[in-house]
């Protein structure tokens, strides 16, 4: 096929528009990824390193702290993400009802937590959940609990605080995605279902959820990445404690690199562990989504 000038112009423009982004991504994303792959085989402290063969991998196999960080991250992920997504869906469906009064006000209020910085809200939660803090005081005065809960000094309760905090910060954010997707759904589908006598819960499960599935999948992946990135909250509310009870992968890598004896090679390898986990999780999520589609 002869390449016409018009065709060539399209090609030149196509590359010109995406080139600045591609160059930057090449330098600040692709190069670091490749570099850290090479780094994974280096041992040594700070900027002095040498080839260590499989030494890092051996260290990885015996790293109890890594297992701890990994299991914490998984716990956060398994408990927090579903709760948040279900809440966000329910809020979105409730707010999508045109006959609901004050929907604009509710929408704004529920989205409001997203404007806070992770650090700012972490500080708020740390102060609210202190031992004699407002949360414990309220619960005690309502006779819901007998004695104050050791929110920040017990590994279990510390995890609960982190989960509560993340849910508070991100539910409204996910809700906006669902709300936007819901408004693109043709209202007459619901009217037809009501005329056919489909009850409300079935309209939610058999109409809304399947139609929102692409968005749900998208937000689930974003949340998964978010959980693996978890750093700001744990670093500020609990510093990963107590007793590494809220240690996360990101915080562990940060500690490996900048707090403990700096070991770039080993932290690069741990970074690759995260990449591998993300890859596996993404594949799993896509497969689940596809199987559901086939089943229905």
């Amino acid at each position: 096929m002869a390449t016409t000038r018009l065709h060539r112009n399209e090609q030149i423009n196509g590359w010109a528009f995406v080139m600045p982004a591609l160059v930057l991504l090449g330098i600040f994303m692709i190069y670091p990824i490749l570099w850290s792959l090479w780094m994974s085989f280096q041992v040594g402290r700070g900027n002095n390193f040498s080839f260590g063969g499989l030494a890092n991998i051996q260290r990885l196999a015996n790293d109890a702290l890594l297992v701890h960080a990994l299991s914490n991250t998984i716990i956060f992920f398994i408990i927090q993400v579903p709760i948040m997504i279900v809440l966000a869906l329910l809020f979105a469906v409730a707010l999508n009802d045109a006959t609901l009064r004050f929907r604009g006000v509710f929408r704004t209020l529920l989205f409001l937590p997203c404007v806070t910085s992770l650090i700012a809200y972490s500080s708020l939660f740390k102060s609210m959940f202190s031992n004699d803090g407002i949360i414990n005081q309220t619960l005690v005065s309502l006779h819901l609990i007998g004695a104050p809960i050791p929110w920040l000094t017990d590994p279990f309760w510390a995890k609960m605080v982190i989960i509560t905090a993340i849910t508070w910060r991100w539910t409204g954010y996910n809700m906006i995605f669902y709300l936007a997707a819901l408004q693109n759904i043709d209202k007459s589908i619901y009217e037809a279902a009501r005329i056919d006598g489909v009850p409300a819960w079935a309209r939610f499960w058999n109409l809304t959820v399947p139609m929102l599935k692409p968005v749900i999948l998208f937000t689930t992946i974003l949340s998964t990445i978010g959980t693996l990135q978890l750093f700001d909250e744990v670093n500020n509310i609990t510093q990963g404690g107590p007793g590494n009870g809220t240690m996360t992968l990101s915080l562990y890598i940060y500690n490996l690199t900048f707090r403990m004896m700096p070991s770039f090679g080993y932290s690069a390898l741990v970074s690759w562990v995260i990449v591998a986990i993300v890859a596996v999780l993404s594949i799993v999520q896509f497969v689940i989504a596809r199987d559901r589609r086939r089943a229905s």
Binding site: M1, A2, T4, R5, L6, H7, E10
Partner: protein, 359 residues
């Protein structure tokens, strides 16, 4: 006011051929309509003339110059889009003057040309409005105005009326016809609506599947279609097609028998064809006559009748083949009746099994 010539124009996306060799000459000041079913390539052909789609092969000449590789804005064309494509953030005035701004035309000259175009289309009161404040018909007029402002040699219209309601469509059709007379410009107009094609065109180009089926004046195409496709596409109601078989062939005439009406035979002056060949008889709705007044009579069952006042259409059924009849007695026919009509050999068409015209 340029003439155009297309020689062996082809377009393919990878291995998919969309336009398969189009040869066409368009005279200056001519109003040409590309018509065909959706997917026939008529819009693609127009966009290739505009320079919006690269041309895979062949030569495109506008005003005697080869334009295959020339930028759209330098081809001397202006285009009116189906969706109007008005810049939503600009007023009508800015929309109309936008092209001139980028052509480096002086401000007062732009104002003059915009006002002139606004006068022609009676857009003066709307000049400072935004597109979202206009009705569909007004937007369409602005889109046409934007084309006029540039004083193009060739106007290209891509289904400009298909987003309007029926009444407005008739109105805009007359408006566009008037503009063509006033501006004396070459216009190429794409539509899938054969009524628009019949009413507007000097010349109709019927396209199917990336090829030209026939080129001609509207009534030429109606009276003398080159093949079954054109015969079925041009005209409303559509031409009726009845399956038949050649049963006898003597010299320059053949006798056919209708498949659904054994015994009903008709002799036509046709040189081609062979005995036993499957053919299709074509009869226009208004060419059915009263019983006994034609060459042969057929009796059909009436499914429904539409009485429009000025005329009536009878929808009859000939063993599964739908037949539309419009004649003097249509007015008195109703659903479930039986109707007997005559077919005249001199007004009937005959097509072979490949759809080519035998008569």
């Amino acid at each position: 006011m340029s003439s155009l010539s297309l020689k062996g124009i082809r377009k393919s996306y990878g291995s998919l051929d969309v336009i398969k060799g189009v040869d066409l000459d368009i005279k200056a000041k001519e109003f040409v309509v590309f018509v065909g079913p959706s997917g026939c390539g008529k819009s693609t052909l127009l966009r290739m003339i505009a320079g919006l789609e690269p041309i895979t092969g062949g030569d495109l000449n506008i005003g005697g110059k080869r334009m295959n590789d020339v930028d759209p804005s330098r081809r001397g064309i202006a285009m009116v889009f189906q969706t109007y494509a008005l810049y939503p953030h600009m007023t009508v005035r800015e929309n109309m003057g936008f092209a001139l701004r980028f052509a480096g035309v002086a401000k007062d000259q732009i104002a003059k040309q915009v006002n002139e175009a606004a006068r022609i289309l009676a857009l003066e009161p709307l000049l400072d409005r935004l597109p979202k404040e206009l009705s569909g018909g007004q937007r369409q007029r602005v889109a046409i105005g934007r084309a006029i402002v540039r004083h193009p040699d060739v106007f290209l219209f891509d289904e400009p009326l298909s987003n309007l309601d029926a009444e407005l469509r008739v109105h805009m059709r007359i408006e566009i016809a008037r503009l063509h007379r006033e501006l004396q410009a070459t216009m190429i107009y794409v539509t899938h609506d054969q009524v628009e094609a019949m009413t507007l065109a000097d010349t109709i180009v019927v396209l199917r599947d990336g090829r030209i089926e026939q080129v001609g004046r509207p009534l030429e195409l109606y009276d003398n279609p080159a093949n079954q496709f054109v015969a079925g596409f041009i005209g409303s109601p559509k031409m009726n097609f009845l399956s038949a078989e050649i049963v006898e062939k003597i010299g320059a005439s053949v006798t056919i028998e209708l498949v659904k009406h054994p015994g009903t035979r008709l002799t036509l002056p046709v040189t081609g064809g062979a005995v036993g060949e499957k053919v299709t008889l074509g009869v226009r709705a208004e060419h059915f006559g009263l019983p006994g007044k034609g060459s042969v009579d057929v009796t059909l069952h009436v499914d429904a009748a539409e009485h429009l006042g000025s005329t009536s259409y009878v929808y009859a059924n000939s063993g599964g083949e739908l037949v539309v009849i419009e004649h003097e007695e249509s007015r008195h026919t109703n659903g479930n009746d039986r109707i007997t009509v005559s077919i005249s050999a001199d007004k009937a068409y005959l097509f072979d099994s490949a759809g080519q015209r035998l008569r």
